[in-house]
Symmetry: C2
């Protein structure tokens, strides 16, 4: 089992009105000194078995096309092999 | 300068139709062995100066109320002090 995390964020030169709204709200709610907030997306992908070279290449390709918009977004792919991906039991 | 990253994800027992759609698309586009996909949000917060105890407590509180919905979402807060938070120059 491998867990792959793809973080997608707006490129620094792209305005982020959602992040700006959160920045304002954090200030109003009492957090001082907030210089900037950017909001992004995170995909957590669980894959069966070990990752082979072909899957890694495919993941990179899809992170840059399906999961992010290359015109306005950057992405990072972190691969964590052989995670003990806990159960999905409905506690709480 | 401190950089705080707040990752917000749906609780495991909550259905994630958006993640399910991405899972289907990854399979159709040629990535084999995808067992699960969950989509979450990521907030990158830049704070001026060093983080004091009060700011840390406030961050925890706001991560669990403003940035996430405690009924359906979990969050993690990672604090990275004194980052050299690069310039926002518009390369590319």
């Amino acid at each position: 089992m491998a867990r792959v995390v793809v973080d997608v964020s707006l490129k620094p030169e792209i305005l982020d009105p959602q992040g700006r709204a959160v920045q304002g709200a954090l200030g109003r709610l009492g957090l001082e000194g907030v210089a900037d907030v950017r909001q992004g997306k995170q995909f957590v992908i669980e894959l069966e078995g070990e990752l082979d070279q072909e899957q890694r290449a495919k993941l990179e390709e899809l992170a840059g096309s399906l999961l992010s918009n290359p015109v306005i977004e950057d992405y990072t792919v972190s691969i964590n092999e052989s995670t003990d991906s806990g159960s999905t039991a409905g506690a709480n």
